[in-house]
Protein backbone atom coordinates (compact mmCIF):
# COMPACT_ATOMS: atom_id res chain seq x y z
CA UNK A 1 0.00 0.00 0.00
CA UNK A 2 2.87 2.32 0.86
CA UNK A 3 4.42 1.56 -2.50
CA UNK A 4 1.13 2.22 -4.26
CA UNK A 5 0.95 5.72 -2.75
CA UNK A 6 4.56 6.37 -3.61
CA UNK A 7 3.76 5.62 -7.27
CA UNK A 8 0.56 7.65 -7.36
CA UNK A 9 2.17 10.62 -5.65
CA UNK A 10 5.12 10.61 -8.04
CA UNK A 11 2.93 10.29 -11.13
CA UNK A 12 0.53 13.01 -9.96
CA UNK A 13 3.48 15.30 -9.24
CA UNK A 14 4.62 14.75 -12.79
CA UNK A 15 1.37 16.26 -14.11
CA UNK A 16 1.63 19.16 -11.69
CA UNK A 17 5.22 19.83 -12.74
CA UNK A 18 4.29 19.73 -16.39
CA UNK A 19 1.47 22.19 -15.84
CA UNK A 20 3.74 24.55 -13.95
CA UNK A 21 6.19 24.47 -16.90
CA UNK A 22 3.40 25.34 -19.34
CA UNK A 23 2.42 28.62 -17.74
CA UNK A 24 0.95 30.12 -20.87
CA UNK A 25 -1.20 27.10 -21.55
CA UNK A 26 -2.28 27.01 -17.92
CA UNK A 27 -3.40 30.63 -17.99
CA UNK A 28 -5.24 30.09 -21.24
CA UNK A 29 -7.04 26.98 -20.01
CA UNK A 30 -8.03 28.73 -16.84
CA UNK A 31 -9.22 31.96 -18.36
CA UNK A 32 -10.86 30.71 -21.53
CA UNK A 33 -14.21 29.43 -20.15
CA UNK A 34 -14.65 32.49 -17.93
CA UNK A 35 -13.74 35.01 -20.55
CA UNK A 36 -15.39 33.42 -23.52
CA UNK A 37 -18.54 31.95 -22.08
CA UNK A 38 -19.28 33.65 -18.81
CA UNK A 39 -18.16 37.21 -19.43
CA UNK A 40 -18.74 37.60 -23.18
CA UNK A 41 -21.64 35.27 -23.72
CA UNK A 42 -23.28 36.07 -20.40
CA UNK A 43 -23.22 39.81 -20.91
CA UNK A 44 -23.88 39.67 -24.65
CA UNK A 45 -27.19 37.85 -24.18
CA UNK A 46 -28.20 39.79 -21.11
CA UNK A 47 -30.91 41.70 -22.92
CA UNK A 48 -31.62 39.23 -25.69
CA UNK A 49 -32.48 36.48 -23.23
CA UNK A 50 -36.02 36.50 -21.90
CA UNK A 51 -36.02 36.36 -18.10
CA UNK A 52 -39.45 34.79 -18.16
CA UNK A 53 -37.86 31.90 -20.02
CA UNK A 54 -34.64 31.59 -18.06
CA UNK A 55 -36.34 32.27 -14.72
CA UNK A 56 -33.25 34.00 -13.43
CA UNK A 57 -32.54 37.57 -12.41
CA UNK A 58 -29.89 37.88 -15.13
CA UNK A 59 -28.61 35.79 -18.01
CA UNK A 60 -25.19 35.51 -16.37
CA UNK A 61 -26.72 34.01 -13.26
CA UNK A 62 -28.58 31.54 -15.47
CA UNK A 63 -25.46 30.77 -17.48
CA UNK A 64 -23.12 30.20 -14.50
CA UNK A 65 -24.32 26.64 -13.90
CA UNK A 66 -23.87 25.93 -17.61
CA UNK A 67 -20.32 27.29 -17.66
CA UNK A 68 -19.41 25.28 -14.56
CA UNK A 69 -20.58 22.03 -16.14
CA UNK A 70 -19.07 22.96 -19.50
CA UNK A 71 -15.71 23.36 -17.82
CA UNK A 72 -16.10 19.93 -16.28
CA UNK A 73 -17.01 18.59 -19.72
CA UNK A 74 -14.07 20.12 -21.54
CA UNK A 75 -11.50 19.22 -18.89
CA UNK A 76 -12.86 15.71 -18.63
CA UNK A 77 -12.93 15.06 -22.36
CA UNK A 78 -9.41 16.45 -22.70
CA UNK A 79 -8.24 14.51 -19.64
CA UNK A 80 -6.81 11.64 -21.68
CA UNK A 81 -4.77 13.79 -24.06
CA UNK A 82 -1.53 13.61 -22.11
CA UNK A 83 -1.79 9.85 -21.82
CA UNK A 84 -2.33 9.73 -25.56
CA UNK A 85 0.95 11.57 -26.09
CA UNK A 86 2.62 9.30 -23.55
CA UNK A 87 1.37 6.33 -25.51
CA UNK A 88 2.57 7.76 -28.81
CA UNK A 89 6.06 8.71 -27.73
CA UNK A 90 6.75 5.57 -25.73
CA UNK A 91 6.77 7.18 -22.29
CA UNK A 92 3.80 5.05 -21.27
CA UNK A 93 5.75 1.96 -22.23
CA UNK A 94 8.59 3.10 -20.05
CA UNK A 95 6.21 3.58 -17.13
CA UNK A 96 4.63 0.18 -17.76
CA UNK A 97 8.00 -1.56 -17.77
CA UNK A 98 8.48 -0.55 -14.13
CA UNK A 99 7.02 -2.66 -11.31
CA UNK A 100 4.08 -0.31 -10.68
CA UNK A 101 0.50 -1.23 -10.07
CA UNK A 102 -1.12 -0.87 -13.49
CA UNK A 103 -3.87 1.41 -12.15
CA UNK A 104 -1.61 4.07 -10.67
CA UNK A 105 -1.07 5.70 -14.06
CA UNK A 106 -4.83 6.07 -14.48
CA UNK A 107 -5.53 7.03 -10.91
CA UNK A 108 -2.92 9.79 -10.89
CA UNK A 109 -4.58 11.27 -13.95
CA UNK A 110 -8.01 11.21 -12.29
CA UNK A 111 -6.64 12.93 -9.22
CA UNK A 112 -4.94 15.59 -11.29
CA UNK A 113 -7.85 16.33 -13.65
CA UNK A 114 -10.35 16.41 -10.78
CA UNK A 115 -8.22 18.79 -8.73
CA UNK A 116 -7.59 21.19 -11.60
CA UNK A 117 -11.24 21.15 -12.59
CA UNK A 118 -12.38 21.84 -9.05
CA UNK A 119 -10.03 24.80 -8.80
CA UNK A 120 -11.31 26.10 -12.08
CA UNK A 121 -14.93 25.75 -10.98
CA UNK A 122 -14.11 27.78 -7.88
CA UNK A 123 -12.53 30.50 -10.01
CA UNK A 124 -15.60 30.58 -12.28
CA UNK A 125 -17.92 30.90 -9.29
CA UNK A 126 -15.66 33.66 -8.02
CA UNK A 127 -15.86 35.59 -11.28
CA UNK A 128 -19.63 35.09 -11.41
CA UNK A 129 -19.77 36.48 -7.88
CA UNK A 130 -18.07 39.65 -9.18
CA UNK A 131 -20.97 39.96 -11.61
CA UNK A 132 -23.41 39.67 -8.73
CA UNK A 133 -24.13 35.93 -8.88
CA UNK A 134 -24.14 34.50 -5.36
CA UNK A 135 -25.05 30.86 -4.87
CA UNK A 136 -28.08 31.02 -2.58
CA UNK A 137 -27.20 27.69 -0.95
CA UNK A 138 -23.93 29.11 0.36
CA UNK A 139 -20.69 27.20 0.94
CA UNK A 140 -22.40 23.87 1.38
CA UNK A 141 -24.00 24.46 -1.99
CA UNK A 142 -20.61 25.21 -3.53
CA UNK A 143 -19.28 21.97 -2.03
CA UNK A 144 -22.22 20.10 -3.55
CA UNK A 145 -21.51 21.71 -6.93
CA UNK A 146 -17.89 20.55 -6.69
CA UNK A 147 -19.04 17.04 -5.79
CA UNK A 148 -21.40 16.86 -8.78
CA UNK A 149 -18.61 18.20 -10.99
CA UNK A 150 -16.24 15.52 -9.74
CA UNK A 151 -18.73 12.74 -10.37
CA UNK A 152 -19.41 13.92 -13.89
CA UNK A 153 -15.69 14.55 -14.49
CA UNK A 154 -14.67 11.02 -13.54
CA UNK A 155 -16.91 9.48 -16.20
CA UNK A 156 -15.80 11.98 -18.85
CA UNK A 157 -12.12 11.48 -18.05
CA UNK A 158 -12.66 7.73 -18.30
CA UNK A 159 -14.21 8.19 -21.77
CA UNK A 160 -11.28 10.37 -22.78
CA UNK A 161 -8.72 7.84 -21.55
CA UNK A 162 -10.58 4.99 -23.23
CA UNK A 163 -10.37 6.95 -26.47
CA UNK A 164 -6.71 7.75 -25.90
CA UNK A 165 -5.92 4.05 -25.52
CA UNK A 166 -8.05 2.97 -28.48
CA UNK A 167 -7.39 5.49 -31.25
CA UNK A 168 -4.74 4.86 -33.87
CA UNK A 169 -3.49 8.45 -33.98
CA UNK A 170 -3.96 11.69 -32.11
CA UNK A 171 -5.62 13.16 -35.21
CA UNK A 172 -8.51 10.73 -34.67
CA UNK A 173 -8.66 11.66 -31.02
CA UNK A 174 -9.01 15.37 -31.64
CA UNK A 175 -11.57 14.87 -34.41
CA UNK A 176 -13.80 12.85 -32.10
CA UNK A 177 -13.23 15.36 -29.30
CA UNK A 178 -14.19 18.30 -31.51
CA UNK A 179 -17.21 16.39 -32.74
CA UNK A 180 -18.39 15.53 -29.23
CA UNK A 181 -17.85 18.68 -27.27
CA UNK A 182 -19.92 21.41 -28.96
CA UNK A 183 -23.05 19.30 -29.65
CA UNK A 184 -22.89 18.13 -26.03
CA UNK A 185 -23.07 21.80 -25.01
CA UNK A 186 -25.80 22.86 -27.45
CA UNK A 187 -27.86 19.76 -26.78
CA UNK A 188 -28.00 20.51 -23.06
CA UNK A 189 -29.62 23.06 -20.80
CA UNK A 190 -26.35 25.02 -20.54
CA UNK A 191 -27.40 27.99 -22.67
CA UNK A 192 -31.18 27.69 -22.86
CA UNK A 193 -33.67 25.86 -20.61
CA UNK A 194 -35.06 22.64 -22.10
CA UNK A 195 -38.58 24.06 -22.22
CA UNK A 196 -37.47 26.86 -24.54
CA UNK A 197 -35.69 24.58 -27.02
CA UNK A 198 -37.11 23.40 -30.33
CA UNK A 199 -38.91 20.12 -29.63
CA UNK A 200 -36.37 17.73 -31.15
CA UNK A 201 -33.42 19.44 -29.47
CA UNK A 202 -35.16 19.42 -26.11
CA UNK A 203 -35.94 15.74 -26.62
CA UNK A 204 -32.30 14.86 -27.31
CA UNK A 205 -31.06 17.11 -24.51
CA UNK A 206 -33.01 15.06 -21.95
CA UNK A 207 -30.64 12.15 -22.54
CA UNK A 208 -27.51 14.24 -22.17
CA UNK A 209 -25.88 13.63 -18.78
CA UNK A 210 -24.75 17.24 -18.92
CA UNK A 211 -28.39 18.37 -18.69
CA UNK A 212 -28.83 16.35 -15.51
CA UNK A 213 -25.75 17.88 -13.97
CA UNK A 214 -26.79 21.42 -14.92
CA UNK A 215 -30.31 20.89 -13.64
CA UNK A 216 -28.88 20.11 -10.24
CA UNK A 217 -26.21 22.84 -10.20
CA UNK A 218 -28.51 25.62 -11.39
CA UNK A 219 -31.06 25.58 -8.51
CA UNK A 220 -28.13 25.35 -6.08
CA UNK A 221 -27.02 28.72 -7.44
CA UNK A 222 -30.38 30.32 -8.15
CA UNK A 223 -33.19 28.88 -6.08
CA UNK A 224 -32.18 27.13 -2.87
CA UNK A 225 -32.09 23.67 -1.31
CA UNK A 226 -35.79 22.90 -1.48
CA UNK A 227 -35.80 23.05 -5.23
CA UNK A 228 -32.28 21.67 -5.67
CA UNK A 229 -32.31 18.56 -3.49
CA UNK A 230 -34.50 16.30 -5.65
CA UNK A 231 -32.29 17.15 -8.64
CA UNK A 232 -29.13 16.58 -6.61
CA UNK A 233 -30.24 13.10 -5.54
CA UNK A 234 -31.34 12.33 -9.06
CA UNK A 235 -28.06 13.45 -10.62
CA UNK A 236 -26.02 11.45 -8.10
CA UNK A 237 -27.95 8.35 -9.12
CA UNK A 238 -27.50 9.10 -12.80
CA UNK A 239 -23.79 9.84 -12.35
CA UNK A 240 -23.16 6.60 -10.46
CA UNK A 241 -24.56 4.77 -13.48
CA UNK A 242 -22.72 7.01 -15.96
CA UNK A 243 -19.40 6.61 -14.14
CA UNK A 244 -19.79 2.86 -13.80
CA UNK A 245 -20.41 2.57 -17.53
CA UNK A 246 -17.51 4.85 -18.48
CA UNK A 247 -15.07 3.22 -16.05
CA UNK A 248 -15.99 -0.22 -17.34
CA UNK A 249 -15.34 0.91 -20.92
CA UNK A 250 -12.15 2.68 -19.89
CA UNK A 251 -10.83 -0.35 -18.04
CA UNK A 252 -11.47 -2.55 -21.06
CA UNK A 253 -9.68 -0.17 -23.41
CA UNK A 254 -6.77 0.10 -20.98
CA UNK A 255 -6.44 -3.64 -20.65
CA UNK A 256 -6.54 -4.06 -24.41
CA UNK A 257 -3.84 -1.44 -24.90
CA UNK A 258 -1.55 -2.47 -22.05
CA UNK A 259 -2.22 -6.21 -21.80
Amino acid sequence: MKEYWQEIRALTMRWVRRLSREKFSMLFTLVQPMLFWLIFFGNLFQRAADMQVTQASSYISFLTAGVVVMTVLNNGLAGGVDLLFDKENGFLERLMSTPIHRTSVILSRFIFVTTITSLQVLVILGVAWLFGVQPVTGLLGVATILFIGMMFGVGLTAISMAMAFSVKSHGDFFSVLGFLSLPMIFLSSALVPLAAMPGWMGFLAQFNPMTWAIDAVRPLILHGWAEALPHVFMVIGVMVLFDALCLYGGARAFRRAIG
Partner: protein, 323 residues
Protein backbone atom coordinates in the same frame (compact mmCIF):
# COMPACT_ATOMS: atom_id res chain seq x y z
CA UNK B 1 31.69 -24.91 -21.77
CA UNK B 2 28.36 -24.29 -20.11
CA UNK B 3 27.46 -20.74 -19.17
CA UNK B 4 24.81 -19.40 -16.85
CA UNK B 5 21.63 -18.72 -18.77
CA UNK B 6 19.96 -15.36 -18.08
CA UNK B 7 17.09 -15.64 -20.54
CA UNK B 8 15.51 -18.74 -21.98
CA UNK B 9 13.14 -18.26 -24.90
CA UNK B 10 11.27 -21.34 -25.97
CA UNK B 11 9.06 -21.68 -29.08
CA UNK B 12 7.89 -18.11 -28.65
CA UNK B 13 5.09 -16.92 -30.92
CA UNK B 14 3.03 -13.72 -31.13
CA UNK B 15 0.14 -13.18 -33.51
CA UNK B 16 -1.53 -9.82 -34.04
CA UNK B 17 -4.86 -10.00 -35.81
CA UNK B 18 -3.82 -13.04 -37.85
CA UNK B 19 -0.34 -11.66 -38.62
CA UNK B 20 2.43 -13.75 -37.12
CA UNK B 21 4.90 -11.15 -35.88
CA UNK B 22 7.03 -13.72 -34.07
CA UNK B 23 7.04 -17.34 -35.11
CA UNK B 24 8.48 -20.16 -33.00
CA UNK B 25 11.56 -18.36 -31.66
CA UNK B 26 13.92 -20.26 -29.40
CA UNK B 27 17.22 -18.95 -28.04
CA UNK B 28 19.18 -18.42 -24.88
CA UNK B 29 20.93 -15.32 -23.60
CA UNK B 30 23.93 -16.00 -21.38
CA UNK B 31 24.58 -14.03 -18.23
CA UNK B 32 27.01 -11.17 -18.76
CA UNK B 33 26.93 -11.01 -22.55
CA UNK B 34 25.71 -8.39 -24.99
CA UNK B 35 23.09 -10.13 -27.06
CA UNK B 36 21.76 -8.51 -30.23
CA UNK B 37 18.53 -9.06 -32.11
CA UNK B 38 19.41 -8.01 -35.64
CA UNK B 39 16.89 -7.57 -38.39
CA UNK B 40 15.13 -5.10 -40.66
CA UNK B 41 12.07 -3.13 -39.52
CA UNK B 42 9.07 -5.34 -38.98
CA UNK B 43 11.21 -8.44 -38.54
CA UNK B 44 9.75 -9.12 -35.10
CA UNK B 45 12.68 -8.04 -32.96
CA UNK B 46 10.82 -5.28 -31.11
CA UNK B 47 7.89 -7.61 -30.49
CA UNK B 48 10.30 -10.15 -29.03
CA UNK B 49 11.86 -7.48 -26.83
CA UNK B 50 8.44 -6.33 -25.61
CA UNK B 51 7.54 -9.88 -24.63
CA UNK B 52 10.79 -10.20 -22.69
CA UNK B 53 10.11 -6.99 -20.76
CA UNK B 54 6.58 -8.25 -19.94
CA UNK B 55 4.74 -5.60 -21.96
CA UNK B 56 3.29 -8.15 -24.37
CA UNK B 57 1.92 -11.59 -23.72
CA UNK B 58 3.08 -14.28 -26.13
CA UNK B 59 0.38 -16.22 -27.97
CA UNK B 60 2.46 -19.39 -27.76
CA UNK B 61 5.67 -20.58 -26.15
CA UNK B 62 7.33 -18.90 -23.20
CA UNK B 63 10.10 -16.58 -22.10
CA UNK B 64 11.91 -17.09 -18.81
CA UNK B 65 13.96 -14.24 -17.39
CA UNK B 66 16.35 -15.23 -14.58
CA UNK B 67 14.11 -18.21 -13.95
CA UNK B 68 10.91 -16.13 -13.86
CA UNK B 69 8.10 -16.46 -16.37
CA UNK B 70 7.45 -13.27 -18.34
CA UNK B 71 3.69 -13.55 -17.86
CA UNK B 72 3.11 -15.25 -14.51
CA UNK B 73 5.94 -13.50 -12.68
CA UNK B 74 5.70 -10.22 -14.61
CA UNK B 75 5.94 -8.04 -11.53
CA UNK B 76 9.06 -9.77 -10.25
CA UNK B 77 10.64 -9.62 -13.69
CA UNK B 78 10.02 -5.87 -13.87
CA UNK B 79 11.90 -5.35 -10.62
CA UNK B 80 15.06 -6.98 -11.96
CA UNK B 81 15.27 -5.49 -15.44
CA UNK B 82 15.93 -2.08 -16.91
CA UNK B 83 14.49 -0.89 -20.19
CA UNK B 84 15.66 1.77 -22.59
CA UNK B 85 12.95 2.40 -25.20
CA UNK B 86 13.59 3.97 -28.57
CA UNK B 87 14.51 7.62 -28.49
CA UNK B 88 12.03 10.29 -27.39
CA UNK B 89 10.45 8.26 -24.60
CA UNK B 90 11.12 11.34 -22.57
CA UNK B 91 8.89 13.96 -21.02
CA UNK B 92 10.17 17.15 -22.59
CA UNK B 93 8.90 19.31 -19.73
CA UNK B 94 10.74 17.42 -16.99
CA UNK B 95 14.41 17.90 -16.25
CA UNK B 96 16.85 15.02 -16.42
CA UNK B 97 16.96 14.77 -12.65
CA UNK B 98 13.16 14.77 -12.40
CA UNK B 99 13.00 11.82 -14.80
CA UNK B 100 15.24 9.85 -12.48
CA UNK B 101 13.32 10.99 -9.39
CA UNK B 102 10.06 9.86 -10.96
CA UNK B 103 11.47 6.45 -11.83
CA UNK B 104 13.03 6.11 -8.38
CA UNK B 105 9.52 6.34 -6.94
CA UNK B 106 8.14 3.91 -9.50
CA UNK B 107 10.83 1.40 -8.54
CA UNK B 108 9.97 2.11 -4.88
CA UNK B 109 13.43 3.27 -3.91
CA UNK B 110 13.74 4.86 -0.48
CA UNK B 111 14.52 8.60 -0.53
CA UNK B 112 18.02 7.82 0.80
CA UNK B 113 18.76 5.29 -1.94
CA UNK B 114 17.39 7.65 -4.57
CA UNK B 115 19.48 10.56 -3.38
CA UNK B 116 22.69 8.53 -3.61
CA UNK B 117 21.95 6.71 -6.84
CA UNK B 118 20.64 9.60 -8.95
CA UNK B 119 23.80 11.75 -8.77
CA UNK B 120 25.90 8.65 -9.48
CA UNK B 121 23.94 7.90 -12.63
CA UNK B 122 24.01 11.51 -13.81
CA UNK B 123 27.76 11.41 -13.42
CA UNK B 124 28.06 8.07 -15.18
CA UNK B 125 26.29 9.32 -18.31
CA UNK B 126 27.93 12.76 -18.07
CA UNK B 127 24.73 14.73 -17.65
CA UNK B 128 25.55 16.46 -14.35
CA UNK B 129 25.82 19.89 -15.98
CA UNK B 130 22.44 19.60 -17.72
CA UNK B 131 20.60 17.69 -15.00
CA UNK B 132 18.35 20.59 -14.06
CA UNK B 133 17.43 21.72 -17.55
CA UNK B 134 14.15 20.56 -19.14
CA UNK B 135 14.70 17.62 -21.47
CA UNK B 136 13.37 19.59 -24.43
CA UNK B 137 16.66 21.49 -24.49
CA UNK B 138 18.66 18.24 -24.83
CA UNK B 139 20.34 17.06 -28.01
CA UNK B 140 19.56 13.61 -29.40
CA UNK B 141 22.68 12.18 -27.82
CA UNK B 142 21.89 13.70 -24.42
CA UNK B 143 18.34 12.32 -24.51
CA UNK B 144 19.79 8.92 -25.24
CA UNK B 145 22.15 9.19 -22.28
CA UNK B 146 19.23 10.16 -20.07
CA UNK B 147 17.34 7.14 -21.43
CA UNK B 148 20.22 4.92 -20.44
CA UNK B 149 20.48 6.46 -16.99
CA UNK B 150 16.74 5.76 -16.57
CA UNK B 151 17.29 2.17 -17.66
CA UNK B 152 20.08 1.75 -15.13
CA UNK B 153 18.21 3.33 -12.24
CA UNK B 154 16.76 0.08 -10.84
CA UNK B 155 20.30 -1.36 -10.79
CA UNK B 156 19.11 -4.08 -13.18
CA UNK B 157 20.56 -7.54 -13.72
CA UNK B 158 19.48 -7.36 -17.34
CA UNK B 159 19.20 -4.21 -19.42
CA UNK B 160 17.06 -4.11 -22.56
CA UNK B 161 17.86 -1.55 -25.23
CA UNK B 162 15.57 -0.91 -28.18
CA UNK B 163 17.53 0.47 -31.14
CA UNK B 164 19.94 2.33 -28.87
CA UNK B 165 21.62 4.41 -31.56
CA UNK B 166 18.82 4.94 -34.07
CA UNK B 167 19.14 8.40 -35.61
CA UNK B 168 22.24 9.44 -33.65
CA UNK B 169 25.33 11.12 -35.05
CA UNK B 170 28.57 9.15 -35.21
CA UNK B 171 30.12 10.70 -32.09
CA UNK B 172 27.10 10.03 -29.88
CA UNK B 173 26.87 6.55 -31.29
CA UNK B 174 30.40 5.67 -30.24
CA UNK B 175 29.78 7.11 -26.77
CA UNK B 176 26.67 4.97 -26.39
CA UNK B 177 28.63 1.90 -27.45
CA UNK B 178 31.19 2.69 -24.76
CA UNK B 179 28.40 2.91 -22.20
CA UNK B 180 26.98 -0.43 -23.27
CA UNK B 181 30.39 -2.06 -23.01
CA UNK B 182 30.87 -0.49 -19.59
CA UNK B 183 27.62 -2.13 -18.47
CA UNK B 184 28.93 -5.51 -19.51
CA UNK B 185 32.06 -4.81 -17.45
CA UNK B 186 29.78 -4.21 -14.46
CA UNK B 187 28.28 -7.64 -14.97
CA UNK B 188 24.98 -6.54 -16.51
CA UNK B 189 23.51 -8.72 -19.21
CA UNK B 190 22.51 -6.57 -22.18
CA UNK B 191 19.85 -7.46 -24.74
CA UNK B 192 19.46 -5.02 -27.61
CA UNK B 193 17.70 -4.74 -30.94
CA UNK B 194 19.36 -3.09 -33.88
CA UNK B 195 19.07 -2.84 -37.62
CA UNK B 196 22.62 -1.58 -37.97
CA UNK B 197 25.00 -4.30 -39.10
CA UNK B 198 28.13 -2.56 -37.85
CA UNK B 199 26.55 -2.11 -34.44
CA UNK B 200 25.70 -5.80 -34.19
CA UNK B 201 29.15 -6.68 -35.47
CA UNK B 202 31.22 -4.49 -33.19
CA UNK B 203 29.14 -4.34 -30.05
CA UNK B 204 27.39 -7.68 -29.63
CA UNK B 205 28.97 -10.84 -28.27
CA UNK B 206 26.30 -12.91 -29.96
CA UNK B 207 23.50 -12.07 -32.32
CA UNK B 208 20.29 -13.60 -33.56
CA UNK B 209 19.41 -12.61 -37.12
CA UNK B 210 15.64 -12.29 -37.27
CA UNK B 211 13.58 -11.98 -40.41
CA UNK B 212 9.88 -12.59 -40.90
CA UNK B 213 9.50 -13.39 -37.20
CA UNK B 214 11.95 -16.29 -37.32
CA UNK B 215 15.58 -16.76 -36.34
CA UNK B 216 17.68 -17.21 -39.45
CA UNK B 217 21.07 -17.46 -37.77
CA UNK B 218 22.42 -17.38 -34.26
CA UNK B 219 25.95 -17.04 -32.95
CA UNK B 220 28.93 -14.76 -32.43
CA UNK B 221 29.39 -12.39 -35.38
CA UNK B 222 32.76 -13.96 -36.18
CA UNK B 223 31.45 -17.50 -36.07
CA UNK B 224 28.67 -16.53 -38.43
CA UNK B 225 31.11 -14.95 -40.84
CA UNK B 226 33.47 -17.92 -40.72
CA UNK B 227 30.47 -20.21 -41.10
CA UNK B 228 29.79 -18.72 -44.51
CA UNK B 229 33.08 -20.22 -45.64
CA UNK B 230 35.61 -18.47 -47.77
CA UNK B 231 36.35 -14.91 -48.79
CA UNK B 232 34.22 -13.15 -51.34
CA UNK B 233 35.19 -11.90 -54.78
CA UNK B 234 32.56 -9.72 -56.43
CA UNK B 235 32.82 -9.00 -60.13
CA UNK B 236 30.94 -6.30 -61.97
CA UNK B 237 30.72 -7.30 -65.63
CA UNK B 238 30.38 -4.68 -68.37
CA UNK B 239 28.39 -6.82 -70.82
CA UNK B 240 25.66 -8.46 -68.84
CA UNK B 241 24.95 -11.16 -71.42
CA UNK B 242 28.40 -12.58 -70.71
CA UNK B 243 27.69 -13.25 -67.05
CA UNK B 244 26.31 -16.77 -67.51
CA UNK B 245 29.21 -17.76 -69.72
CA UNK B 246 31.71 -16.49 -67.19
CA UNK B 247 29.90 -18.21 -64.33
CA UNK B 248 30.11 -21.54 -66.11
CA UNK B 249 33.83 -21.10 -66.71
CA UNK B 250 34.66 -19.97 -63.19
CA UNK B 251 32.76 -22.81 -61.50
CA UNK B 252 35.33 -25.42 -62.41
CA UNK B 253 38.41 -23.45 -61.48
CA UNK B 254 40.55 -24.49 -58.47
CA UNK B 255 39.97 -22.94 -55.01
CA UNK B 256 36.41 -21.88 -55.90
CA UNK B 257 33.65 -22.78 -53.46
CA UNK B 258 30.49 -21.30 -54.86
CA UNK B 259 29.40 -18.95 -57.60
CA UNK B 260 26.19 -16.90 -57.59
CA UNK B 261 25.02 -14.48 -60.24
CA UNK B 262 23.99 -10.99 -59.17
CA UNK B 263 22.18 -8.32 -61.20
CA UNK B 264 25.51 -6.77 -62.18
CA UNK B 265 27.89 -9.71 -62.27
CA UNK B 266 29.09 -12.55 -60.05
CA UNK B 267 29.70 -13.21 -56.37
CA UNK B 268 32.35 -15.89 -55.97
CA UNK B 269 33.31 -17.56 -52.72
CA UNK B 270 36.94 -18.62 -52.74
CA UNK B 271 39.11 -20.73 -50.46
CA UNK B 272 42.45 -19.07 -51.12
CA UNK B 273 42.42 -15.75 -52.88
CA UNK B 274 46.02 -15.98 -54.15
CA UNK B 275 45.11 -19.04 -56.23
CA UNK B 276 41.61 -18.08 -57.17
CA UNK B 277 42.03 -14.46 -58.22
CA UNK B 278 44.54 -15.00 -61.06
CA UNK B 279 42.48 -17.93 -62.32
CA UNK B 280 39.30 -15.87 -62.35
CA UNK B 281 40.95 -12.97 -64.19
CA UNK B 282 42.46 -15.45 -66.64
CA UNK B 283 39.06 -16.95 -67.37
CA UNK B 284 37.54 -13.49 -67.90
CA UNK B 285 40.35 -12.62 -70.35
CA UNK B 286 39.93 -15.84 -72.30
CA UNK B 287 36.23 -15.13 -72.72
CA UNK B 288 37.00 -11.47 -73.56
CA UNK B 289 34.62 -10.58 -70.80
CA UNK B 290 35.39 -7.04 -69.68
CA UNK B 291 35.33 -6.42 -65.94
CA UNK B 292 34.25 -3.02 -64.72
CA UNK B 293 35.01 -3.54 -61.07
CA UNK B 294 36.57 -6.19 -58.83
CA UNK B 295 35.92 -6.26 -55.13
CA UNK B 296 37.55 -8.65 -52.73
CA UNK B 297 36.77 -8.89 -49.03
CA UNK B 298 36.59 -11.12 -46.01
CA UNK B 299 32.97 -12.05 -45.24
CA UNK B 300 31.13 -9.21 -43.54
CA UNK B 301 28.03 -9.37 -41.45
CA UNK B 302 25.93 -8.14 -44.36
CA UNK B 303 27.10 -11.17 -46.32
CA UNK B 304 25.89 -13.30 -43.43
CA UNK B 305 22.60 -11.49 -43.50
CA UNK B 306 22.17 -11.94 -47.24
CA UNK B 307 23.18 -15.60 -47.06
CA UNK B 308 20.55 -16.34 -44.41
CA UNK B 309 17.68 -14.12 -45.48
CA UNK B 310 18.19 -13.92 -49.23
CA UNK B 311 18.24 -10.11 -49.17
CA UNK B 312 20.23 -7.19 -47.92
CA UNK B 313 19.26 -5.47 -44.69
CA UNK B 314 20.06 -2.19 -46.44
CA UNK B 315 16.92 -2.61 -48.58
CA UNK B 316 15.03 -1.55 -45.50
CA UNK B 317 17.37 1.11 -44.25
CA UNK B 318 15.65 4.20 -45.75
CA UNK B 319 12.41 3.11 -44.09
CA UNK B 320 14.19 2.73 -40.79
CA UNK B 321 15.55 6.25 -40.98
CA UNK B 322 12.17 7.79 -41.67
CA UNK B 323 10.73 9.64 -38.68
Amino acid sequence: MSRAVAIEVSHLGKTYEKVRAVDDLSFQVYAGEIFGLLGPNGAGKSTTLRILITLLHPTSGSATILGMNSVKDADRVRKTIGYVPQERAIDRFLTGREHLELLADLYHLSPEDASTRIPQLLKLVELEQQADRPAKTYSGGMKRKLDIACGLLPDPKILFLDEPTLGLDVQSRLRIWDHVRAMRERGITVVMTTNYLDEADQLCDRIAIIDGGRIKALGAPNELKVGLGGDLVSLTVREHDRVELLAAAVKNLPAIRAVTTTPTGLDIRVDSPEKALPAILDAANRLTCQLEFIDYHRPRLDDVFIAHTGRSIKDDQPKAEAP
